[in-house]
Amino acid sequence: MIRFVHTLRLCGVAAALLLTSSCAFFETPEVTDPNNPDVEVFVNNPSLSQIQALASGTEASLRLGYQGQGPYLNMTGTFGREVVVLASNESRWYTELLGTRDLDNAAFYNSAYNDFARCRRAAQILRESANTAAVLSAEQKQVTQGFAHTMEAISELYMLNLQGENGIRIDVDNPLRPGPFVSYTASLDHIRDLLDQANTELTGGSAAFPFTLTTGGFTGFDTPATFRQFNRALAARVAAYRQDWAGITTNLAQSFYSETGSLTLGPSIAYTPGQPLDTGNPYFQALNSSPATLVVVQRSILQDTLRLTTTGRDARVRTKMARRATPRSLGGINGTYQPTVYTSNTARIPIIRNEELILLAAESAIQRNNLPEGVRLLNLIRTRSGNIGPYTGAVTQAALIDELLLQREFSLFYEGHRWVDYRRYNRLAQLDRELPNHQVFAAMARPFAEVAWDAANP
């Protein structure tokens, strides 16, 4: 009996141990994300500093599409035969992407599409979030919308550049119910509308944004009035893509277009690798270095330098490419020159700059058959940018279009244009197929996840 009592006592102690801690024992603690802020906190009545963080995030996210595994400039550069990526550990850069196989819609190199979409959504979250902010005046909300809509437009334009005739989705605010893909033309029209809407919003609102843009990248374009000039510059580019030749001129008039101003004037993506979580320019390669992934100049660019009809060497050729001490040869392709467009890891990547605006003005003039004006503007580029003599060829519309494309090729080398230009002028067939099994692609494949979504949500 004594033993039994003893046992009960022990049992009691044990039970008590459990009971005293019973509340804690049965409780599963509430989980809040210990590692990251939650988006839900931000979309309801954000503070000024929260709006600033979202705006900075939107601005910074534009660079995502320029880095990652399929960086925008290397993709457009490869398709447009500006550069070849001789990656010693990834042969698909100089085989598949040059056309030895069809494009893979699930491969690593499709990343830029998703990255630009992410920038677009960041702008959307900023705009939706700002609309709920009690701290903002109606005018401040309005210019924030203008900023966000411009960023959305530019993201969509880059996505469309990659997708070409596939078009893009334009109704994407609700990720669970995205709209269908629309044609290339309809996509461009939508981008124009977005830019126009932003233009209106930027015009009538407060004099300053309720947030600050990065020093460097947007210096000079960081108020609603000056940011609007950037917006109009983009509208001029879109007008050119839409073959709205008169529209180019209208938009340029309200942009930062300047025949005397610096050719590099314009907003850019800035890199300050020393700052926390910022990065360096991913396209910078030290001269003669041999990183695993080496970008070299495609041979047709080198051949085209002969077409510049110059007495001395074109300044653009001199500064934008350099002969390598040790060439790299992979898969039957020789890389003797490397691009030197981005000279350090703090070099900026222009989003749109004055030199392109002058070329757009030239294009508008030539297309509207104002050939002397076209020649004048092209000469402006030839002398100011190339430091070569004036144009001496035939003054016909066809010849000037050839000349325009040649000037664009060198003025905007490795800035993402040649492929798009050749496509809109139906000249892809003229691009260099270096090996017999190469082909030139007109567009990237529609990403696998997009195809799958449409298959399941007809």
Binding site: T28, T214, P273, L277
Partner: protein
């Protein structure tokens, strides 16, 4: 779990207790029928009473049996139990034979109870120490299970020292969660994470674009910390029907490990020493070069330069086999274990210290493990049993860099592109020449890069049983089981700033120091009531209890790039980044279970567990997990008269389990992004699911166990159907929206998603046949054959067809989540208009079947020969290894004609033709037959031993053994088990530049005192 075994043993006699009267003494010796050695720790029971004794170190026993007792029963785990009449003599010696079927061992049946194997209604595999490590010494416990466990798909992801193994039980149990079983060591729920260290991140091999921990870091899983030699037995609950009592942690199965314990009697000291070597079992070879070949691979000026170099190097005889230089070395393996065990009736102990030291086949790689264990059992009075199990481990590895790579760090990548006439050897001034064709010189990487890991770990468990009521027909006990597992892992990665691949970077040199703390706890309390009705014809066991489990995991790293010359500290970096990740999980469960046993003829069990977890959207929601099972021992019925068949047991079991949602599945996080001097916030590409619930699985299992000729032939057959409902997956959205999926991705957690996307079904068969063809004095031969297969299929999908697994796209093969398809099937180029999403369908990554054959022969008592063959039939792998060498022109058969001709009619060499092949070339058959383990041991006869050492030494055993001794396979690559992405939930592995797997050979000495 061992605790419960003892509890049951203690409880059973209480149930059958009868009043004791006068006694008489019987003594004798129990030996192993195979070798005549004394068997310590054998339970000797006066049948029909609770009186028992245990044999001592030499197998001797002495027992006072009540008069009237006519029979003694001798039982020992792993041996057949026998009954012997006492007769009139005062001595009784017996020899026990090893039991391949182990019908009399006890197996876990509830969180606080066990059941005799002969009454078990589930297929629960038990692996004894003898089966696990008795043949040879695989480096880790999971490696030691390979080929021995029907229903398991085990593969060694990497041949690097320390392993890294994937164990998947009964097919695919999740797509995004943890596919690895729950491991419980002596009642402690332990950590088996693969702790990523960032070796695959852009600053290092660049295999992945993720800057934190990546899926391509190729680290070991933490089970590598456990010394296999400490293990007494392993029980494997393969599916939900057996694992239902583990609720939300049971989906991938449960592996219950019991370590060795002390036995009452003389103190035993045992020393074992193994010395061995490891060599790559296969190297891929190379092809030398000719002028013609050089011109084919290179072009332009490069070709001219290469030809010139080739001429001078060839004339000077400087043609090398770099693969042989890097992977052709011999690793030295050494294991030393010292254990002391013994104790009195009230206090028992087992203390062991061990050190394992393995050097890898690549210079400067290796694995070291030092472990100290103390297991102490204390009985307080007659009513309280306590046991404390403690284990401290220090485990280290140095793995180098292999596998996928984008930066030119991985040896395998660089080797594939290095022609044999290039000069990479260290110069007289101590520096390495630059590689001409690869971003770095692989010999320099071997010598100078670092990928090191150190883990310090404590696993402590305390079990207590309070015997509250001990009556003739009933007993009640309260059991408490608590455990903690704490591990700190420190990873150090370093690439010196003057390496060729680093020099040209904007910020040359990289170091990363990662610290990971994992802290797991478990606490369980249960009441167990045993009662006996109808004169013992009906035995009931009831139990109810609660359990609480927590897991805290935090990882932080600091990384410096742009290192000052000669510096390796992360502080010496120009750009220093850091990141931290924390997670805290808690699960609570309550359970109740009832077992009914009618005369060992019909055994019925039913139970239910309710769990809640804070990883679910509703942290307070209880999820039920019912189970039920029945086993009928037909041969125990009176009508059964067919003596030749002694076991006929049909059995059926049903159960439910779940897998917890991935941590952070409920969050829609913003991440930080730098914008100049400002910090911006950017939404991640996944949005959280606030309604997430655990993945739930049900399993219906049916089986038939047969035993013939007193179990000289045994058969066990099981079929199962395991369905996993509401599989959590990233719900892939149209990425053009800027959101790629509904899910939750934590930076450092595994890439996970959490939207219920559909159901998955696994169906399989497991067969086991044990035969003892010969059982005589001079030869005992046992043969165990196992056969198993599994088929998986998506039965319901609510999302668009999307990618699962981690393949490299259509060209090399990928897996799809699509209704009606297996998630482990490969798809790829060329386009097939009728295929899923226009892709050609290929074979499945899961084996068509697996089979193993274990033979053990004991000859003339002293010699023991064992060998284990393991056959994996089919099971396809996406293999890029040959592609790498084809691109580099180094494949052994590169120049041989492919049969194809180009436009000019010139033959195309194989190495060229294969590069433009479809996915057919890369999705390769991973079938193999492996002599996985083989050994020959010799036990020095007693006479010789006593002559040499008198009685100071009680046993001496010598032996030789091997692991992965012979492999027959058509697979092209280092090893058909390789996995670039480590553990892959859908079992579809990718081999790209893997670390070669090894053949291990040992010499063993074991001495007992």
């Amino acid at each position: 779990m061992k605790r419960q075994l003892t509890i049951l043993l203690l409880a059973l006699p209480a149930v059958v207790q009868v009043a004791a009267a006068q006694t008489r003494s019987v003594s004798g010796r129990v030996t192993d029928a195979a070798n005549g050695q004394g068997l310590p720790g054998v339970t000797v029971l006066a049948k029909g009473t609770s009186t028992g004794a245990t044999t001592d170190a030499d197998g001797a026993y002495s027992i006072n049996v009540p008069t009237g007792t006519t029979t003694l029963q001798f039982s020992y785990v792993g041996y057949q139990t026998i009954d012997r009449p006492i007769g009139s003599a005062g001595t009784l010696s017996v020899a026990l034979s090893a039991d391949t079927r182990q019908l009399d061992e006890v197996v876990v049946s509830g969180l606080a109870s066990t059941v005799k194997r002969s009454n078990l209604a589930n297929s629960v595999a038990t692996i004894s120490a003898k089966e696990l490590t008795g043949i040879t010494r695989p480096v880790t416990v999971d490696a030691a299970l390979n080929g021995k466990l029907a229903g398991a798909n085990i593969s060694q992801n990497s041949g690097a020292p320390g392993g890294g193994l994937s164990v998947q039980l009964r097919g695919i149990s999740t797509i995004s969660g943890s596919s690895q079983p729950l491991y419980i060591i002596d009642g402690v729920y332990v950590n088996n994470e693969q702790i990523g260290n960032g070796a695959g991140s852009p600053a290092f091999s660049g295999a992945s674009a993720t800057t934190s921990r990546t899926t391509q870091d190729q680290t070991v899983n933490r089970l590598a910390d456990l010394n296999p030699n400490d293990i007494e037995s392993i029980e494997v609950l393969k599916g939900p029907s057996a694992a239902a009592i583990y609720g939300t942690r049971g989906n991938a199965g449960v592996i219950i490990i019991r370590t060795k314990r002390g036995k009452a009697g003389q103190t035993r000291v045992s020393i074992t020493q193994d010395i061995g070597i490891a060599r790559a079992w296969r190297l891929l070879g190379k092809e030398d070069w000719s002028e013609e070949k050089i011109r084919r691979v290179f072009s332009g000026q490069t070709a001219e330069d290469e030809v010139a170099l080739w001429r001078t190097q060839t004339q000077a005889g400087n043609v090398y086999d770099y693969e042989e230089e890097i992977f052709g070395n011999t690793g030295v393996l050494s294991n030393t274990t010292l254990s002391v065990s013994g104790g009195s009736e009230n206090t028992k102990f087992y203390v062991s210290g061990s050190t394992n030291n393995e050097s890898g086949i690549v210079k400067h790689t290796g694995f070291q493990r030092n472990s100290i264990r103390a297991n102490v059992d204390q009985r307080i009075g007659k009513l309280v049993d306590l046991s404390l199990n403690t284990n401290y481990i220090n485990s280290n590895n140095q793995r180098g860099f292999t596998g996928n790579d984008n930066n030119g760090i991985s040896y395998t990548y660089n080797l594939a592109a290095t022609p044999s006439y290039h000069e990479l050897h260290r110069l007289p001034d101590g520096t390495f020449p630059d590689a001409r064709r690869t971003p770095d010189n692989p010999l320099a990487i071997v010598e100078r890069a670092k990928n090191d890991e150190t883990t310090n770990r404590f696993i402590v468990g305390l079990n207590a049983a309070f015997h509250i009521i001990e009556r003739e027909t009933s007993s009640l006990r309260f059991t408490v089981l608590g455990g903690t597992d704490f591990a700190n892992t420190r990873n150090f990665l370093h690439l010196p700033s003057d390496l060729q691949s680093q020099r040209d970077l904007p910020n040359p040199g990289a170091s990363r120091l990662t610290n990971t703390n994992a802290f797991f706890t478990n606490l369980q309390g249960a009441l167990v009531y045993d009662w006996r009705l109808l004169d013992g014809n009906l035995m009931l066991t009831s139990q109810a209890g609660t359990v609480r489990l927590t897991r805290k995991f935090n990882q932080n790293f600091s990384q410096g790039v742009g290192l000052l010359p000669g510096q390796s500290s992360t502080n010496a970096g120009t750009i220093i980044t850091q990141n931290s990740f924390e997670s805290e999980q808690a699960d609570v469960g309550v359970f109740a279970q009832q077992e009914i046993n009618w005369r060992d003829r019909i055994v019925v069990t039913g139970g239910i567990r309710f769990d809640k977890t804070n990883t679910a959207g509703d942290k307070d929601k209880w999820f039920p997990f019912p189970k039920a099972s029945i086993a009928v021992n037909v041969a125990n019925f009176d009508f059964w008269t067919l003596d030749v068949v002694n076991v006929v047991k049909p059995r059926f079991a049903y159960g439910q389990t779940a897998g917890v949602p991935p941590y952070s599945a409920i969050f829609s996080p913003l991440s930080t992004i730098g914008a100049g001097t400002r910090l911006g916030l950017l939404q991640q590409v996944t949005i959280g699911n606030r309604d997430v619930e655990p993945e739930r699985a049900t399993e219906l299992e049916a089986g038939l166990d047969l035993g013939f000729l007193e179990n000289r032939i045994t058969f066990e057959g099981t079929v199962y159907k395991k369905k996993v409902f509401d599989i959590l997956r990233p719900y892939t959205l149209a990425p053009g929206t800027g959101v790629q999926q509904v899910a939750g991705i934590g930076d450092l957690s595994q890439t996970v998603g959490a939207y219920p996307v559909g159901d998955l079904e696994n169906r399989g068969i497991e067969l086991g046949l044990g035969i003892t063809p010969v059982r005589s004095d001079n030869l005992t031969w046992t043969a165990t054959t196992q056969f198993w297969l599994n088929r998986s299929k998506v039965t319901r999908s609510v999302i668009p067809v999307n990618t699962v697994g981690l393949g490299f796209g259509n060209t090399f093969g990928r897996n799809l989540w699509a209704e009606g398809e297996s998630p482990s099937r490969w798809f790829g180029t060329p386009a097939d208009p009728n295929g899923v999403l226009g892709l050609t369908g290929y074979e499945d990554a899961q084996p068509r079947f697996q089979m193993s054959l274990l033979n053990t022969m004991t000859v003339f008592k002293g010699f023991e020969l064992s060998f284990l063959f393991h056959w994996k039939n089919k099971g396809y792998i996406s293999n890029l290894s040959r592609e790498l060498k084809d691109e580099g022109g180094t494949t052994e058969d590169w120049s041989e004609p492919s049969g194809q001709v180009d436009a000019q009619g010139n033959p195309i060499p194989r190495g060229v033709a294969r590069q433009s092949a479809t996915a057919r070339e890369f999705i390769q058959d991973g079938s193999y037959v492996r002599l996985r383990e083989a050994s020959l041991y010799y036990t020095i006869p007693v006479a010789v031993r006593t002559k040499l050492f008198s009685t100071y030494v009680s046993n001496i055993r010598l032996g030789v053994s091997g692991y992965n001794l012979i492999t027959w396979t058509d697979y092209v690559g280092y090893d058909p088990e390789s996995s670039n992405f480590g553990n892959v939930a859908n079992a579809a592995t990718v081999d790209v530049g893997s670390f070669p797997n090894t053949r291990r050979m040992f010499f063993h000495v074991a001495v007992e005192f």
